[in-house]
Structures are given as structure tokens and as C-alpha cells.
Amino acid sequence: MNTDNAEGRTELYQEVILEHNRKPRNFKKLENPTHFAEGYNPICGDHVLVYLKVDDQNTIEDISFEGSGCAISKASSSMMTTALKGKSLPQATMLFDQFHKLVKGELKPDRDPHSLGSLGIFSGIWQYPSRIKCAILGWHAVKGALDKVQTVSTE
């Protein structure tokens, strides 16, 4: 459930986000990853490392992340790992595109078809333009890892 503040903006720090920030999922280094990348957001100083294990069928068998950052980047990366685990690479690309549109306010979860599930909680972040890069950082790192780009920046 989205809650609105005095101005009618969707509250940024909803309980789900705070909870993922407190206890991030898959928050560890993965041994022998098939794919790896580092993401950096110079505005925040957020720094994320993502590790993936992709099997012969092009399925994301395992995914994890490490790093330091604001609550938005940490929660977003955490929720991303749970969303991507077990997905095929084409599915992951589709989710990346949908999430990208979501945080920019181009995809409205209650209007447009999507497969984002609980990631829809980030739908209000377009109202906080300086924070969009925080939410998308982990995703850009994953895309970089899959494209074999070792370092990505949201700057």
C-alpha cells in the first residue's frame, strides 16, 4: 500500500523499503560468479558490487550483491536480487526495461501491464528526481555484468 505525504507525493521510505535496507537479501559475495560488475553513483557515493551465476540454459541460478549506499539503493538492490533469481536472461532484460520505465514514471503499475510484482513499490520515486539513480544503480550493475561491462556509473 502506498501512503501519501502532505503534498500527495508517495512516501519514499515505506516499510518494505526500510525492512530491505535493514536486512538486505542476498547481501554477500558469490564465489565463482559467471558475471560480475561494479556500480557507482557519484551523487550519493553509493557503491554496489553484483555477482551472478548464469547456467547453460541462460537462467540466473544465483545472484548477490555487496556494497554501501543509501537506503533506496540498498533496498532496491536487495529486492532486485529476489526478483531476478531463477529468471531467464530475456526475462531479466524485460524486468530491467520495465523497472527503468517505472522509476522514470513512464510505466504506471496500476495502468500498464507488467511483471514487476513487489518492485512496483518504487513507482513513486519519479517524484524524487535526485533519487532515481539510487533506485536504478543495482539494476544498471546487473545489466553491465550481463553485457560484460565491469564498471557502470549512473552519473
Binding site: I43, C44, G45, A71
Partner: protein
Amino acid sequence: MRATAALSLPVTEIRKDFPNLQAEIRGKPLAYLDNAATTFKPTSVLAAMDDYYQKTCSNVHRGVHFLTEEATAQFEASREKVKNFLNARAPEEIIFTRGATDSINTVVQSYGRKFLKPGDEIIISHMEHHSNIVPWQMLCEEKGCVLRVIPINDQGEILYEEFEKLLNPKTRFVSVVYVSNSLGTINPVKRIIEAAHRLKASVLIDAAQAVNHLKVDVQELDCDFLVFSGHKLYGPTGIGVLYGKRELLENMPPAQGGGDMISAVTFEKTTYNALPYKFEAGTPPIAQVIGLGAAVDYVQGIGLERIAEYEKELLDYGTKALSAISDLRMIGTASDKAAILSFVLPHVHAHDVGTLVDEEGIAIRTGHHCTMPLMQRFGVPATCRASLAFYNTPQELDRLVVAIGKAKEVFS
């Protein structure tokens, strides 16, 4: 100082001069605590610029008609005001640039490229803004010079003895910040200048965060160059100042070529104009120069001694109030400080604090403040920074403390 005590400046009256301060943000009165990023502009500055555009608009130093002479007179009057403001010897020592960054780059491109040689050493400090690091690195790469860095202690103070150890006959240039934008530290620049001059090294002082907080006198400091930006001195953006000693500027080549900076041009040979025009190629930002003159008038109307005194009261009040928040760690606790309060909370990232206090109508800066090496020194990715001006009040600092408390609750 108590929030209810009498203030040493008539702040209520002063605040009326700044239209921005009347704003409401997110339904709450704005508390603008981001003055190190840019300051608000008093109506006199806006009126001076408006007057130029509406009444005297024309180009300067060109032609003989009435308006160009009037605009030129106002333009050069601003230069005279800045000269007096810094206590320079002559208006020719005041060069208008786009800002402090542009001023530093002008010195690097002109003085640095002409006079510095492979193996020459350039000293900066660990608390420099990127604008006083990167241009020197670029020069070192081009010319084979060596960059040396003065270390700092945990309070954010320059280790002066370490600076003296860095000095050697190869030291040709020292470029240091007067007041740190991230920490508020006021550096002992006079001692640094004296020590550098003993080795005949030139010294540039980055005074971008100093001219608005304390009286700066270039003759007393005896610096060779000093730079600042208009927009951090209650003036417009897009205008900065490069002060340089005349004998140095005379021997330096222009950093840019174009109109206004020449006295004669043929296809075979160009003769450069005299100071300060040699360094002011092209049509200058005329309205901004006039606006800067008005800003200098405004600041001097209050008086920098009074500003410094009031801001010290605010700084002490804010330091005490913020330090009382459990877990809060102040970054930058130098004994000699300007009114800048940098801090971190152990469990809340600076950017989250910034967004949450913004919900209360409070503007602070969060991030690395263009001083990434300094953040690494303190082991933090970013800090929250409340930077104060003479129009801020203890009540605004009280609101900041309450808002930080709320942010902590969200993350508890």
C-alpha cells in the same frame, strides 16, 4: 546564544532583503542551510542587474555612444569595488572570470604552462575542492610536474609541520583552500604563504568559501593569486574573480584569445591588451559583474566583522545542538572554523537524511561536496552539510535538529 536571546545582527530586518527566504517548501517555511553551495541574492543585487538590462544595456569597452560609456562606467566601478573589498593595490589586479574554478584554471593554463617545468613540485592540501585538484593534475600530466598533498589530522586541520617538510627547492607552487567547503576549517594561509615565499614558490589561495565569512586582505596575506565566485558572496552565478599580483600577471600569457584582450591585430602579429583586459577575452558577463559590485556593497554595508561575529554565534549554537544528538558524528572539528557543519549518522545514509529533512522544508547538502579524497580520509562516502549565512537563525538550526530526530526514527 539561546534561540530566544537577542541576536548580534538585526536578522529579521536583513531577511526582508532576500526574497527567496520568504519561500515555503513542501508546505513549510524554508530553512535554507545550503549556503556553501550558493547563497541567496539580496534585492539590491537583483535590482542592479535589472537596471542594467532595462536601462543601460549595451556592450562595454566599445564605441563612443552614451549607453556603452554608462555600462562601461558601471562595469569598471564594480572592479574598483572588488579591488577595495580585497584591498588589492590596483583595479588592474582584478580579473573577472566565470567563477573560482575558471580563475584557478586560468592560473594553471597561463602561469602553470609558461613557468612550471618537469620535476617542479606543486603542493595542495588534502581538503581541496576538486577544482583545486584536477586542474593541477592535468598540468602535471602535461608538463611532468609532481603533485604533493599536505595531510590533515582527524579534526580536519592541516598538519603544518608536514607542510614544512614537503617544502623543498623544487616546490614552485602552493595552491590551498582558505576555508574548507566540506569541513569549515579556516586554514593558516598566512603562515603557508610566508613559508612558500621563503622558497620563492608562488601561492594561490582558493577563497571561494572565505570571502563571505571573513575579511580577506590580499596585501596582508601577501598571496600571489586569490580566487572566489560571485554566487557564494550573495552575487549572481557566472561571475568570479581572479586576483593576481600585477608583476606576475604582466608576465603571464593570456589564457584565451579573442576580442577585448588585444590592442592590435594583424595576420602576422597580435599585440595583447594591458591588464586586466589581457585576461578577459570576449564580451564579459556585464550584468553579473554589476551584480557582483552590488553584492560587495551589500556585504560591506553589514560589515564582515559583524557577519563573522554573528556567524560564530550561530556556529557555536549549531555545533552544540547537533553534538547533543546521540550517535551523530561531526566531520570537521577544527579549532578555527567558519559556519559550516558537516556530520554523519551511523545508521542513516547522508542522502536519506537529506531527503527526510527536505520533507520538513530544510535544505542541506548531502554528498561528497566535490572533495572525494577528503571523504576517503574520514572513511565516509558522503556527509550531511549545513552551511550557514548571516540570514540564518538559531530557530532554523532547532528545526534541523528536530528533523534529524525524525529521520533517525524512520530508520530506528
